[in-house]
Symmetry: C2
Subunit: 104 residues, 2 copies
């Protein structure tokens, strides 16, 4: 996300708008919003893919696909440990997205 | 948008996640982000559909469709005046979306 580009800070160029929209596209799905909230709410700040399937009621490949979109958008990290992938919300990533919607 | 539901404020229920994701889905497209920024940057705070087509390089029906999605998501208003529709960004709507991403 560009450091200073905001939706209300002047007419955006195409590339700035693409950067901003990329993160919101990842956030524009209720399952992905719930997955982020579950991870953020965990005691350790991380959750195993094996702990995410039950709460959202979806099969592991579907949850993995959603998590890949969140990782690709720069909102979460993925770490493989043995059999399982573990996910964390990246510090400051949601705040960065929020800033692009706020007055400068 | 629910007044208090935030992505990092605890595990979200399905309906809360749907409300949050709905706004971000509208923001998850670079053309719609540019349209909002153009309207917000105008001197009067509003722009005619006739002033939006050129800057984004799209035909009027396409721009109208994008603007409908922004209006339906509660981010913009549409007012028909004679031949043309005029759009405004709703005060506080982007701030409300930003709040759902920030710590409480």
């Amino acid at each position: 996300m560009t450091c200073c580009a905001t939706v209300t800070g002047g007419a955006l160029e195409t590339d700035q708008a693409e950067q901003i929209a990329r993160v919101f596209k990842a956030l524009g799905d209720p399952t992905r919003v719930r997955l982020l909230s579950l991870i953020a709410a965990s005691d350790t700040g991380e959750l195993c893919i094996c702990d995410l399937t039950d709460p959202v009621g979806l099969a592991q490949p579907t949850v993995s696909h959603h998590m890949k979109q969140l990782v690709d958008a720069g909102l979460a990290t993925r770490e493989q440990r043995g059999k399982w992938a573990y996910f964390r919300v990246i510090d400051g990533a949601l705040e960065g997205a929020a800033r692009s919607l706020l007055p400068r």
